[in-house]
Symmetry: C2
Subunit: 328 residues, 2 copies
Protein backbone atom coordinates (compact mmCIF):
# COMPACT_ATOMS: atom_id res chain seq x y z
CA UNK A 1 0.00 0.00 0.00
CA UNK A 2 1.71 3.13 -1.16
CA UNK A 3 1.60 6.63 0.30
CA UNK A 4 -0.84 8.69 -1.75
CA UNK A 5 0.59 12.07 -2.69
CA UNK A 6 -1.02 15.23 -4.03
CA UNK A 7 0.97 18.02 -5.69
CA UNK A 8 -0.40 21.49 -5.06
CA UNK A 9 1.02 23.90 -7.64
CA UNK A 10 2.67 22.75 -10.85
CA UNK A 11 5.68 24.90 -11.73
CA UNK A 12 9.31 23.77 -11.76
CA UNK A 13 9.04 22.49 -8.21
CA UNK A 14 5.78 20.61 -8.74
CA UNK A 15 7.18 18.99 -11.84
CA UNK A 16 10.28 18.07 -9.84
CA UNK A 17 8.12 16.38 -7.23
CA UNK A 18 6.35 14.44 -9.96
CA UNK A 19 9.74 13.20 -11.25
CA UNK A 20 10.98 12.36 -7.74
CA UNK A 21 7.87 10.29 -7.00
CA UNK A 22 8.77 7.98 -9.89
CA UNK A 23 12.02 7.16 -8.08
CA UNK A 24 10.15 6.22 -4.88
CA UNK A 25 8.00 3.13 -5.43
CA UNK A 26 6.45 3.32 -1.95
CA UNK A 27 4.63 6.51 -3.00
CA UNK A 28 2.19 7.27 -5.75
CA UNK A 29 0.87 10.45 -7.29
CA UNK A 30 -2.90 10.77 -6.88
CA UNK A 31 -3.58 14.18 -8.38
CA UNK A 32 -2.08 17.53 -9.31
CA UNK A 33 -3.87 20.74 -8.27
CA UNK A 34 -3.45 24.01 -10.08
CA UNK A 35 -4.86 27.53 -10.00
CA UNK A 36 -4.50 27.70 -13.77
CA UNK A 37 -7.03 26.16 -16.12
CA UNK A 38 -6.44 22.40 -15.57
CA UNK A 39 -6.90 21.77 -19.28
CA UNK A 40 -3.85 23.96 -19.96
CA UNK A 41 -1.59 21.97 -17.63
CA UNK A 42 0.14 18.99 -19.15
CA UNK A 43 1.84 16.69 -16.67
CA UNK A 44 4.28 13.82 -17.23
CA UNK A 45 2.38 11.00 -15.56
CA UNK A 46 -0.25 9.28 -17.64
CA UNK A 47 -3.58 8.65 -16.01
CA UNK A 48 -3.10 11.13 -13.18
CA UNK A 49 -5.73 13.89 -13.13
CA UNK A 50 -5.10 17.64 -12.94
CA UNK A 51 -7.76 19.39 -10.87
CA UNK A 52 -8.55 22.98 -9.99
CA UNK A 53 -7.00 23.91 -6.64
CA UNK A 54 -10.45 24.38 -5.12
CA UNK A 55 -11.20 20.71 -5.55
CA UNK A 56 -8.48 19.61 -3.13
CA UNK A 57 -10.81 19.82 -0.15
CA UNK A 58 -13.02 17.13 -1.67
CA UNK A 59 -10.14 14.67 -1.80
CA UNK A 60 -9.25 14.16 1.84
CA UNK A 61 -10.02 10.45 1.54
CA UNK A 62 -7.84 9.96 -1.53
CA UNK A 63 -4.66 11.78 -0.53
CA UNK A 64 -2.39 11.13 2.45
CA UNK A 65 0.20 13.87 2.05
CA UNK A 66 -0.14 17.09 0.08
CA UNK A 67 3.16 18.50 -1.15
CA UNK A 68 2.89 22.26 -1.53
CA UNK A 69 4.82 23.59 -4.48
CA UNK A 70 3.97 27.27 -4.42
CA UNK A 71 6.22 30.25 -3.69
CA UNK A 72 7.19 31.54 -0.28
CA UNK A 73 6.27 35.16 -0.90
CA UNK A 74 2.51 34.90 -1.22
CA UNK A 75 1.44 31.28 -1.86
CA UNK A 76 2.67 29.22 1.06
CA UNK A 77 1.74 31.62 3.90
CA UNK A 78 -1.87 31.08 2.85
CA UNK A 79 -1.83 27.62 1.30
CA UNK A 80 0.12 25.63 3.87
CA UNK A 81 -2.17 26.40 6.84
CA UNK A 82 -5.20 25.92 4.60
CA UNK A 83 -4.03 22.51 3.38
CA UNK A 84 -2.77 21.48 6.84
CA UNK A 85 -6.38 21.60 7.97
CA UNK A 86 -7.16 18.87 5.42
CA UNK A 87 -4.04 16.77 4.81
CA UNK A 88 -0.63 15.98 6.18
CA UNK A 89 1.54 18.52 4.36
CA UNK A 90 5.12 19.33 3.41
CA UNK A 91 6.29 22.71 2.12
CA UNK A 92 9.53 24.43 1.15
CA UNK A 93 8.89 27.80 2.80
CA UNK A 94 12.26 29.54 2.56
CA UNK A 95 11.93 33.09 3.84
CA UNK A 96 14.22 32.52 6.82
CA UNK A 97 13.10 35.54 8.84
CA UNK A 98 9.44 34.58 8.62
CA UNK A 99 9.81 30.91 9.52
CA UNK A 100 8.77 31.31 13.19
CA UNK A 101 5.50 33.05 12.22
CA UNK A 102 4.79 30.54 9.45
CA UNK A 103 5.52 27.70 11.87
CA UNK A 104 2.97 29.03 14.36
CA UNK A 105 0.25 29.40 11.71
CA UNK A 106 0.77 25.94 10.32
CA UNK A 107 1.11 24.39 13.78
CA UNK A 108 -2.25 25.83 14.84
CA UNK A 109 -4.04 24.58 11.73
CA UNK A 110 -2.42 21.13 11.79
CA UNK A 111 -3.01 20.55 15.49
CA UNK A 112 -6.65 21.58 15.25
CA UNK A 113 -7.16 19.07 12.43
CA UNK A 114 -4.98 16.30 13.87
CA UNK A 115 -2.63 16.55 10.90
CA UNK A 116 1.16 16.45 10.56
CA UNK A 117 3.02 19.24 8.78
CA UNK A 118 6.69 19.64 7.93
CA UNK A 119 7.71 23.11 6.75
CA UNK A 120 10.83 24.70 5.27
CA UNK A 121 12.00 21.51 3.60
CA UNK A 122 14.62 21.67 0.86
CA UNK A 123 18.31 22.43 1.05
CA UNK A 124 18.43 25.92 2.60
CA UNK A 125 16.40 25.87 4.74
CA UNK A 126 16.58 22.09 4.89
CA UNK A 127 19.71 20.00 4.52
CA UNK A 128 21.91 23.04 5.16
CA UNK A 129 20.00 23.73 8.38
CA UNK A 130 20.63 20.16 9.50
CA UNK A 131 24.33 20.60 8.82
CA UNK A 132 24.43 23.84 10.81
CA UNK A 133 22.70 22.05 13.68
CA UNK A 134 24.93 18.96 13.67
CA UNK A 135 28.02 21.16 13.35
CA UNK A 136 26.98 23.39 16.23
CA UNK A 137 26.02 20.49 18.47
CA UNK A 138 29.31 18.65 17.95
CA UNK A 139 31.77 21.55 17.77
CA UNK A 140 30.35 23.79 20.47
CA UNK A 141 33.36 26.09 20.37
CA UNK A 142 33.33 27.02 16.71
CA UNK A 143 32.06 29.14 13.90
CA UNK A 144 29.52 28.59 11.09
CA UNK A 145 29.90 29.54 7.48
CA UNK A 146 27.34 29.17 4.72
CA UNK A 147 28.24 29.93 1.10
CA UNK A 148 25.83 29.72 -1.80
CA UNK A 149 26.54 28.94 -5.40
CA UNK A 150 27.68 28.68 -8.00
CA UNK A 151 24.03 28.99 -8.88
CA UNK A 152 21.17 30.95 -10.29
CA UNK A 153 19.36 33.31 -7.95
CA UNK A 154 15.79 33.76 -9.08
CA UNK A 155 15.32 36.94 -7.05
CA UNK A 156 18.42 38.60 -8.47
CA UNK A 157 17.58 37.53 -12.01
CA UNK A 158 14.14 39.13 -11.56
CA UNK A 159 15.79 42.32 -10.28
CA UNK A 160 17.96 42.56 -13.39
CA UNK A 161 14.93 42.17 -15.64
CA UNK A 162 13.23 45.13 -13.97
CA UNK A 163 16.02 47.52 -15.08
CA UNK A 164 14.81 49.71 -18.01
CA UNK A 165 16.32 48.61 -21.30
CA UNK A 166 16.79 44.99 -20.16
CA UNK A 167 14.94 42.31 -22.13
CA UNK A 168 16.13 39.32 -20.17
CA UNK A 169 18.79 38.33 -17.69
CA UNK A 170 20.18 35.72 -15.40
CA UNK A 171 22.26 36.11 -12.26
CA UNK A 172 24.76 33.68 -10.76
CA UNK A 173 25.81 33.84 -7.13
CA UNK A 174 29.43 32.70 -6.78
CA UNK A 175 31.31 31.95 -3.57
CA UNK A 176 34.74 33.62 -3.38
CA UNK A 177 37.37 30.89 -3.59
CA UNK A 178 39.90 32.55 -1.31
CA UNK A 179 37.24 33.01 1.37
CA UNK A 180 36.25 29.35 1.11
CA UNK A 181 39.91 28.35 1.39
CA UNK A 182 40.45 30.53 4.45
CA UNK A 183 37.42 28.96 6.14
CA UNK A 184 38.52 25.43 5.22
CA UNK A 185 41.95 26.00 6.69
CA UNK A 186 40.30 26.53 10.08
CA UNK A 187 41.39 30.17 10.39
CA UNK A 188 37.85 31.22 11.44
CA UNK A 189 38.03 34.49 9.46
CA UNK A 190 35.53 37.33 9.86
CA UNK A 191 34.12 37.82 6.38
CA UNK A 192 32.09 40.72 5.05
CA UNK A 193 29.22 40.20 2.61
CA UNK A 194 31.49 41.35 -0.23
CA UNK A 195 34.26 38.97 0.76
CA UNK A 196 32.05 35.89 0.65
CA UNK A 197 30.22 36.08 -2.68
CA UNK A 198 30.45 37.74 -6.07
CA UNK A 199 27.56 38.19 -8.51
CA UNK A 200 27.73 37.54 -12.22
CA UNK A 201 25.00 38.83 -14.52
CA UNK A 202 24.17 37.82 -18.09
CA UNK A 203 22.01 40.53 -19.62
CA UNK A 204 20.12 40.84 -22.88
CA UNK A 205 19.72 44.55 -23.66
CA UNK A 206 17.13 46.15 -25.92
CA UNK A 207 18.53 47.23 -29.25
CA UNK A 208 20.10 50.67 -28.92
CA UNK A 209 19.91 50.67 -25.14
CA UNK A 210 22.64 52.46 -23.16
CA UNK A 211 24.63 49.50 -21.88
CA UNK A 212 26.87 51.59 -19.66
CA UNK A 213 23.81 52.97 -17.90
CA UNK A 214 22.26 49.50 -17.50
CA UNK A 215 25.50 48.13 -16.10
CA UNK A 216 25.76 51.02 -13.63
CA UNK A 217 22.15 50.63 -12.55
CA UNK A 218 22.60 46.94 -11.88
CA UNK A 219 25.88 47.34 -10.02
CA UNK A 220 24.56 50.03 -7.70
CA UNK A 221 21.17 48.49 -6.97
CA UNK A 222 20.77 48.48 -3.18
CA UNK A 223 20.14 45.15 -1.35
CA UNK A 224 20.68 43.16 -4.52
CA UNK A 225 24.05 44.18 -5.97
CA UNK A 226 25.55 47.28 -4.32
CA UNK A 227 27.12 45.27 -1.47
CA UNK A 228 28.83 42.87 -3.86
CA UNK A 229 31.46 42.85 -6.55
CA UNK A 230 29.25 42.41 -9.58
CA UNK A 231 30.18 41.59 -13.15
CA UNK A 232 27.81 42.32 -16.03
CA UNK A 233 28.07 40.52 -19.38
CA UNK A 234 25.87 41.55 -22.28
CA UNK A 235 24.80 38.60 -24.38
CA UNK A 236 22.29 37.87 -27.11
CA UNK A 237 18.93 36.26 -26.33
CA UNK A 238 20.18 33.25 -28.23
CA UNK A 239 23.28 32.89 -26.07
CA UNK A 240 21.22 33.35 -22.91
CA UNK A 241 18.90 30.58 -24.05
CA UNK A 242 21.64 28.17 -25.10
CA UNK A 243 24.16 28.73 -22.30
CA UNK A 244 22.13 29.94 -19.35
CA UNK A 245 18.81 28.13 -19.46
CA UNK A 246 19.59 25.74 -16.58
CA UNK A 247 18.76 26.27 -12.92
CA UNK A 248 21.89 24.94 -11.23
CA UNK A 249 22.71 25.79 -7.66
CA UNK A 250 24.54 24.55 -4.63
CA UNK A 251 26.71 25.78 -1.82
CA UNK A 252 28.71 24.98 1.25
CA UNK A 253 28.10 24.75 4.99
CA UNK A 254 31.31 24.72 6.97
CA UNK A 255 31.71 24.42 10.72
CA UNK A 256 35.15 25.02 12.07
CA UNK A 257 35.92 24.52 15.74
CA UNK A 258 38.31 23.51 18.46
CA UNK A 259 38.55 20.80 21.10
CA UNK A 260 41.05 19.69 23.72
CA UNK A 261 42.21 20.82 27.12
CA UNK A 262 43.00 24.28 25.76
CA UNK A 263 41.39 24.21 22.33
CA UNK A 264 44.63 22.90 20.87
CA UNK A 265 42.98 20.76 18.17
CA UNK A 266 41.20 22.16 15.13
CA UNK A 267 38.41 20.42 13.23
CA UNK A 268 36.64 21.33 10.01
CA UNK A 269 33.29 19.87 8.93
CA UNK A 270 32.27 20.67 5.37
CA UNK A 271 29.05 19.90 3.55
CA UNK A 272 28.53 20.84 -0.05
CA UNK A 273 25.95 20.49 -2.77
CA UNK A 274 26.54 20.69 -6.52
CA UNK A 275 23.12 20.63 -8.17
CA UNK A 276 22.27 20.59 -11.85
CA UNK A 277 18.66 21.45 -11.06
CA UNK A 278 17.76 23.39 -7.94
CA UNK A 279 13.99 22.70 -8.16
CA UNK A 280 14.40 18.98 -8.85
CA UNK A 281 16.77 18.53 -5.93
CA UNK A 282 14.49 20.51 -3.61
CA UNK A 283 11.62 18.36 -4.83
CA UNK A 284 13.56 15.19 -3.99
CA UNK A 285 14.02 16.45 -0.43
CA UNK A 286 10.30 17.27 -0.20
CA UNK A 287 9.37 13.76 -1.24
CA UNK A 288 11.64 12.15 1.38
CA UNK A 289 10.02 14.35 4.04
CA UNK A 290 6.55 13.50 2.76
CA UNK A 291 7.39 9.92 3.72
CA UNK A 292 8.46 11.12 7.17
CA UNK A 293 5.25 13.13 7.58
CA UNK A 294 3.22 10.04 6.81
CA UNK A 295 5.16 7.97 9.35
CA UNK A 296 4.89 10.60 12.07
CA UNK A 297 1.19 10.83 11.36
CA UNK A 298 0.75 7.07 11.71
CA UNK A 299 2.30 7.40 15.17
CA UNK A 300 -0.12 10.17 16.04
CA UNK A 301 2.52 12.90 16.11
CA UNK A 302 0.55 15.89 14.88
CA UNK A 303 1.28 19.60 14.52
CA UNK A 304 4.08 21.42 12.73
CA UNK A 305 7.66 20.15 12.53
CA UNK A 306 10.78 21.13 10.67
CA UNK A 307 13.69 19.05 9.39
CA UNK A 308 15.36 19.59 12.76
CA UNK A 309 12.65 17.55 14.48
CA UNK A 310 12.56 14.53 12.18
CA UNK A 311 14.41 11.31 13.07
CA UNK A 312 16.59 10.69 9.99
CA UNK A 313 15.45 7.06 9.65
CA UNK A 314 11.91 8.30 8.90
CA UNK A 315 13.12 9.63 5.54
CA UNK A 316 14.01 6.22 4.24
CA UNK A 317 11.79 3.53 2.78
CA UNK A 318 14.02 0.91 4.40
CA UNK A 319 13.30 -0.56 7.84
CA UNK A 320 15.28 0.47 10.91
CA UNK A 321 16.99 -2.94 10.99
CA UNK A 322 17.99 -2.68 7.32
CA UNK A 323 19.38 0.79 7.87
CA UNK A 324 21.46 -0.36 10.83
CA UNK A 325 22.83 -3.22 8.76
CA UNK A 326 23.41 -1.39 5.51
CA UNK A 327 24.08 2.29 6.21
CA UNK A 328 25.16 2.71 9.81
CA UNK B 1 20.06 21.63 36.79
CA UNK B 2 22.68 20.06 34.60
CA UNK B 3 22.84 16.58 33.10
CA UNK B 4 25.09 14.46 35.28
CA UNK B 5 27.60 12.45 33.27
CA UNK B 6 29.83 9.53 34.15
CA UNK B 7 32.83 8.49 32.04
CA UNK B 8 33.48 4.76 31.96
CA UNK B 9 37.04 4.13 30.78
CA UNK B 10 39.70 6.81 30.71
CA UNK B 11 41.91 6.50 27.65
CA UNK B 12 42.12 9.00 24.77
CA UNK B 13 38.37 8.85 24.25
CA UNK B 14 37.48 9.27 27.93
CA UNK B 15 39.82 12.21 28.20
CA UNK B 16 38.21 13.67 25.07
CA UNK B 17 34.78 13.37 26.68
CA UNK B 18 36.10 15.14 29.75
CA UNK B 19 37.33 18.03 27.56
CA UNK B 20 34.08 18.17 25.56
CA UNK B 21 32.00 18.38 28.74
CA UNK B 22 33.79 21.63 29.61
CA UNK B 23 32.39 23.11 26.40
CA UNK B 24 28.82 22.13 27.30
CA UNK B 25 27.65 24.03 30.37
CA UNK B 26 24.34 22.13 30.57
CA UNK B 27 26.27 18.99 31.51
CA UNK B 28 28.60 18.18 34.35
CA UNK B 29 31.08 15.41 35.03
CA UNK B 30 30.18 13.44 38.15
CA UNK B 31 32.81 10.71 38.17
CA UNK B 32 35.29 8.78 36.08
CA UNK B 33 35.39 4.99 36.32
CA UNK B 34 38.46 2.93 35.53
CA UNK B 35 39.62 -0.66 35.63
CA UNK B 36 43.11 0.54 36.50
CA UNK B 37 44.10 1.53 40.03
CA UNK B 38 42.16 4.80 40.48
CA UNK B 39 45.09 6.33 42.32
CA UNK B 40 47.16 5.96 39.13
CA UNK B 41 44.66 7.86 36.97
CA UNK B 42 45.09 11.60 36.86
CA UNK B 43 42.21 13.47 35.25
CA UNK B 44 41.95 17.12 34.17
CA UNK B 45 38.95 18.21 36.21
CA UNK B 46 39.61 19.22 39.78
CA UNK B 47 37.27 17.85 42.41
CA UNK B 48 35.89 15.03 40.28
CA UNK B 49 36.54 11.57 41.74
CA UNK B 50 38.04 8.58 39.92
CA UNK B 51 36.46 5.33 41.06
CA UNK B 52 37.05 1.67 40.35
CA UNK B 53 34.72 0.46 37.61
CA UNK B 54 32.94 -1.87 40.02
CA UNK B 55 31.66 1.09 41.99
CA UNK B 56 29.53 2.39 39.11
CA UNK B 57 26.55 0.28 40.16
CA UNK B 58 26.39 2.15 43.48
CA UNK B 59 25.98 5.50 41.72
CA UNK B 60 22.71 5.14 39.88
CA UNK B 61 21.27 8.09 41.85
CA UNK B 62 24.18 10.40 41.06
CA UNK B 63 24.62 9.84 37.33
CA UNK B 64 22.09 10.39 34.53
CA UNK B 65 24.07 9.27 31.49
CA UNK B 66 27.11 7.00 31.44
CA UNK B 67 29.38 7.56 28.45
CA UNK B 68 31.22 4.37 27.62
CA UNK B 69 34.76 4.99 26.44
CA UNK B 70 36.11 1.46 26.04
CA UNK B 71 37.09 -0.35 22.86
CA UNK B 72 34.77 -2.14 20.45
CA UNK B 73 36.67 -5.40 20.34
CA UNK B 74 36.19 -6.66 23.88
CA UNK B 75 35.05 -3.82 26.19
CA UNK B 76 31.79 -2.49 24.77
CA UNK B 77 30.09 -5.80 23.92
CA UNK B 78 30.17 -6.53 27.66
CA UNK B 79 30.11 -3.06 29.22
CA UNK B 80 27.34 -1.37 27.27
CA UNK B 81 24.59 -3.92 28.08
CA UNK B 82 25.87 -4.05 31.68
CA UNK B 83 25.73 -0.29 32.12
CA UNK B 84 22.45 0.05 30.17
CA UNK B 85 20.84 -1.93 32.99
CA UNK B 86 21.84 0.87 35.38
CA UNK B 87 22.06 4.16 33.46
CA UNK B 88 21.13 5.82 30.21
CA UNK B 89 24.19 5.13 28.09
CA UNK B 90 26.01 6.23 24.95
CA UNK B 91 28.78 4.26 23.26
CA UNK B 92 30.94 4.44 20.14
CA UNK B 93 30.76 0.78 19.12
CA UNK B 94 32.32 0.79 15.66
CA UNK B 95 32.59 -2.78 14.41
CA UNK B 96 30.11 -2.27 11.56
CA UNK B 97 29.38 -5.95 10.94
CA UNK B 98 28.53 -6.59 14.59
CA UNK B 99 26.24 -3.59 15.12
CA UNK B 100 22.95 -5.55 14.71
CA UNK B 101 23.96 -8.08 17.40
CA UNK B 102 25.25 -5.35 19.72
CA UNK B 103 22.04 -3.41 19.18
CA UNK B 104 19.93 -6.39 20.22
CA UNK B 105 21.95 -7.01 23.39
CA UNK B 106 21.82 -3.39 24.47
CA UNK B 107 18.17 -3.02 23.54
CA UNK B 108 17.23 -5.98 25.71
CA UNK B 109 19.16 -4.68 28.73
CA UNK B 110 17.95 -1.08 28.36
CA UNK B 111 14.30 -2.00 27.86
CA UNK B 112 14.30 -4.33 30.86
CA UNK B 113 15.68 -1.51 33.02
CA UNK B 114 13.62 1.30 31.48
CA UNK B 115 16.80 3.02 30.27
CA UNK B 116 17.75 4.79 27.05
CA UNK B 117 20.82 3.74 25.09
CA UNK B 118 22.40 5.20 21.96
CA UNK B 119 25.08 3.04 20.36
CA UNK B 120 27.61 3.46 17.56
CA UNK B 121 27.98 7.21 18.06
CA UNK B 122 30.96 9.02 16.57
CA UNK B 123 31.77 9.86 12.99
CA UNK B 124 31.85 6.45 11.28
CA UNK B 125 29.57 4.98 12.40
CA UNK B 126 27.89 8.22 13.38
CA UNK B 127 27.92 11.42 11.36
CA UNK B 128 29.01 9.55 8.23
CA UNK B 129 26.08 7.14 8.67
CA UNK B 130 23.72 10.10 8.86
CA UNK B 131 25.16 11.47 5.65
CA UNK B 132 24.76 8.14 3.89
CA UNK B 133 21.16 8.04 5.06
CA UNK B 134 20.27 11.60 4.04
CA UNK B 135 22.03 11.13 0.70
CA UNK B 136 20.20 7.88 -0.02
CA UNK B 137 16.83 9.25 1.00
CA UNK B 138 17.11 12.34 -1.17
CA UNK B 139 18.92 10.96 -4.20
CA UNK B 140 17.20 7.60 -4.53
CA UNK B 141 18.78 6.94 -7.89
CA UNK B 142 22.43 7.28 -6.99
CA UNK B 143 25.59 5.83 -5.59
CA UNK B 144 27.41 6.13 -2.23
CA UNK B 145 31.09 6.61 -1.69
CA UNK B 146 32.92 6.72 1.62
CA UNK B 147 36.61 7.60 1.75
CA UNK B 148 38.68 7.70 4.94
CA UNK B 149 41.71 9.82 5.71
CA UNK B 150 44.12 11.31 5.63
CA UNK B 151 44.38 9.81 9.08
CA UNK B 152 45.94 7.39 11.47
CA UNK B 153 44.51 3.88 11.57
CA UNK B 154 45.09 2.36 14.99
CA UNK B 155 44.51 -1.19 13.73
CA UNK B 156 47.03 -0.86 10.90
CA UNK B 157 49.59 0.82 13.16
CA UNK B 158 49.23 -2.10 15.56
CA UNK B 159 49.72 -4.53 12.68
CA UNK B 160 52.99 -2.85 11.70
CA UNK B 161 54.26 -3.07 15.25
CA UNK B 162 53.72 -6.81 15.28
CA UNK B 163 56.23 -7.33 12.44
CA UNK B 164 59.51 -8.78 13.79
CA UNK B 165 62.27 -6.18 13.87
CA UNK B 166 59.83 -3.26 14.20
CA UNK B 167 60.12 -1.14 17.34
CA UNK B 168 57.34 1.30 16.59
CA UNK B 169 55.19 2.45 13.70
CA UNK B 170 52.31 4.53 12.52
CA UNK B 171 50.06 4.08 9.51
CA UNK B 172 48.15 6.72 7.56
CA UNK B 173 45.17 5.87 5.40
CA UNK B 174 45.03 8.24 2.42
CA UNK B 175 42.20 8.65 -0.08
CA UNK B 176 43.33 8.60 -3.70
CA UNK B 177 42.87 12.08 -5.12
CA UNK B 178 41.98 11.02 -8.64
CA UNK B 179 39.30 8.65 -7.31
CA UNK B 180 37.82 11.44 -5.20
CA UNK B 181 37.81 13.73 -8.23
CA UNK B 182 36.10 11.14 -10.41
CA UNK B 183 33.40 10.68 -7.77
CA UNK B 184 32.95 14.43 -7.33
CA UNK B 185 32.48 14.89 -11.05
CA UNK B 186 29.38 12.70 -10.87
CA UNK B 187 30.81 9.94 -13.07
CA UNK B 188 29.69 7.24 -10.58
CA UNK B 189 32.84 5.17 -11.15
CA UNK B 190 33.21 1.58 -9.93
CA UNK B 191 36.27 1.68 -7.69
CA UNK B 192 38.31 -1.23 -6.37
CA UNK B 193 39.76 -1.21 -2.85
CA UNK B 194 43.18 -0.35 -4.30
CA UNK B 195 41.81 2.52 -6.34
CA UNK B 196 40.22 4.25 -3.34
CA UNK B 197 42.93 4.39 -0.69
CA UNK B 198 46.69 4.16 -0.30
CA UNK B 199 48.53 3.33 2.92
CA UNK B 200 51.60 5.14 4.19
CA UNK B 201 53.70 3.62 6.97
CA UNK B 202 56.30 5.27 9.18
CA UNK B 203 58.39 2.55 10.78
CA UNK B 204 61.10 2.52 13.44
CA UNK B 205 63.28 -0.57 12.89
CA UNK B 206 65.51 -2.28 15.44
CA UNK B 207 69.18 -1.58 14.96
CA UNK B 208 70.59 -3.95 12.38
CA UNK B 209 67.17 -5.21 11.29
CA UNK B 210 66.70 -6.23 7.66
CA UNK B 211 64.66 -3.31 6.38
CA UNK B 212 63.97 -4.84 3.01
CA UNK B 213 62.42 -7.86 4.72
CA UNK B 214 60.34 -5.66 7.05
CA UNK B 215 59.10 -3.59 4.13
CA UNK B 216 58.15 -6.72 2.18
CA UNK B 217 56.39 -8.25 5.17
CA UNK B 218 54.32 -5.12 5.69
CA UNK B 219 53.42 -4.69 2.03
CA UNK B 220 52.26 -8.27 1.60
CA UNK B 221 50.35 -8.58 4.89
CA UNK B 222 46.90 -9.94 3.99
CA UNK B 223 43.76 -7.96 4.99
CA UNK B 224 45.84 -5.03 6.17
CA UNK B 225 48.17 -4.04 3.32
CA UNK B 226 48.26 -6.58 0.47
CA UNK B 227 45.16 -5.12 -1.21
CA UNK B 228 46.59 -1.59 -1.20
CA UNK B 229 49.44 0.40 -2.66
CA UNK B 230 51.55 0.78 0.44
CA UNK B 231 54.56 3.01 1.04
CA UNK B 232 57.01 2.31 3.86
CA UNK B 233 59.28 4.99 5.29
CA UNK B 234 61.91 4.12 7.89
CA UNK B 235 62.35 6.87 10.46
CA UNK B 236 64.04 7.29 13.83
CA UNK B 237 62.04 6.99 17.05
CA UNK B 238 62.69 10.69 17.53
CA UNK B 239 61.17 11.60 14.16
CA UNK B 240 58.18 9.36 14.81
CA UNK B 241 57.62 11.11 18.13
CA UNK B 242 58.03 14.63 16.79
CA UNK B 243 56.24 14.32 13.45
CA UNK B 244 53.76 11.50 13.91
CA UNK B 245 52.49 11.69 17.48
CA UNK B 246 49.08 13.14 16.59
CA UNK B 247 45.89 11.19 15.97
CA UNK B 248 44.40 13.10 13.04
CA UNK B 249 41.72 11.58 10.86
CA UNK B 250 38.82 12.45 8.62
CA UNK B 251 37.23 11.42 5.39
CA UNK B 252 34.51 11.96 2.85
CA UNK B 253 30.98 10.72 2.24
CA UNK B 254 29.78 11.47 -1.26
CA UNK B 255 26.39 10.71 -2.75
CA UNK B 256 26.05 11.21 -6.44
CA UNK B 257 22.72 10.80 -8.17
CA UNK B 258 20.30 11.80 -10.89
CA UNK B 259 16.86 13.38 -11.11
CA UNK B 260 14.51 14.55 -13.85
CA UNK B 261 12.18 12.98 -16.31
CA UNK B 262 14.97 10.79 -17.68
CA UNK B 263 17.71 11.24 -15.12
CA UNK B 264 19.05 14.20 -17.09
CA UNK B 265 20.26 16.19 -14.07
CA UNK B 266 23.23 15.21 -11.92
CA UNK B 267 23.70 16.14 -8.28
CA UNK B 268 26.61 15.63 -5.94
CA UNK B 269 26.36 15.81 -2.15
CA UNK B 270 29.68 15.82 -0.32
CA UNK B 271 30.40 15.70 3.39
CA UNK B 272 33.93 15.83 4.72
CA UNK B 273 35.73 15.91 8.04
CA UNK B 274 39.26 17.16 8.69
CA UNK B 275 40.08 16.30 12.28
CA UNK B 276 43.21 17.15 14.27
CA UNK B 277 42.21 14.66 16.94
CA UNK B 278 40.08 11.65 16.12
CA UNK B 279 39.31 10.72 19.76
CA UNK B 280 38.44 14.29 20.79
CA UNK B 281 36.07 14.73 17.87
CA UNK B 282 34.43 11.36 18.51
CA UNK B 283 34.10 12.38 22.15
CA UNK B 284 32.37 15.62 21.14
CA UNK B 285 29.83 13.62 19.17
CA UNK B 286 29.30 11.29 22.15
CA UNK B 287 28.59 14.24 24.44
CA UNK B 288 25.99 15.71 22.07
CA UNK B 289 24.24 12.34 21.92
CA UNK B 290 24.42 12.01 25.71
CA UNK B 291 22.21 15.10 25.78
CA UNK B 292 19.84 13.44 23.32
CA UNK B 293 19.74 10.26 25.42
CA UNK B 294 18.78 12.30 28.44
CA UNK B 295 15.99 14.07 26.55
CA UNK B 296 14.61 10.87 25.07
CA UNK B 297 14.68 9.33 28.53
CA UNK B 298 12.71 12.24 30.00
CA UNK B 299 10.07 11.52 27.37
CA UNK B 300 10.00 7.88 28.39
CA UNK B 301 11.57 6.64 25.14
CA UNK B 302 13.55 3.66 26.35
CA UNK B 303 15.53 0.93 24.64
CA UNK B 304 18.39 1.09 22.16
CA UNK B 305 18.69 3.74 19.45
CA UNK B 306 21.31 4.78 16.95
CA UNK B 307 22.10 8.18 15.43
CA UNK B 308 19.62 7.35 12.67
CA UNK B 309 16.75 7.41 15.18
CA UNK B 310 17.53 10.68 16.95
CA UNK B 311 15.73 13.93 16.04
CA UNK B 312 18.60 16.34 15.29
CA UNK B 313 17.19 19.05 17.58
CA UNK B 314 17.73 16.76 20.58
CA UNK B 315 21.48 17.18 20.18
CA UNK B 316 21.40 20.88 20.88
CA UNK B 317 21.18 22.69 24.20
CA UNK B 318 19.03 25.34 22.49
CA UNK B 319 15.24 25.23 22.47
CA UNK B 320 13.29 24.22 19.38
CA UNK B 321 12.11 27.81 18.89
CA UNK B 322 15.67 29.17 19.13
CA UNK B 323 16.86 26.60 16.62
CA UNK B 324 14.11 27.53 14.16
CA UNK B 325 15.01 31.19 14.52
CA UNK B 326 18.78 30.89 14.47
CA UNK B 327 19.81 27.82 12.50
CA UNK B 328 16.98 26.78 10.23
Amino acid sequence: MSIRIGIYGYGNLGRGVECALRQNPDMSLTAVFTRRDPASVKILTEGVPVYPAARAKEMTNEIDVMILCGGSATDLPVQTPEMAALFHVVDSFDTHAKIPAHFDEVDRAAKAAGKTAIISVGWDPGLFSLMRLYGNAVLTDGKDYTFWGRGVSQGHSDAIRRVPGVLDGKQYTIPVKSALEAVRSGQNPELSVREKHTRECYVVAEEGADKARIEAEIKTMPNYFAEYDTTVHFVSQKTLASEHSGIPHGGFVIRSGRTGENGEHKHVIEYSLKLDSNPEFTASVLVAYARAAYRLASEGQTGCKTVLDIPPAYLSARSAAELRRELL
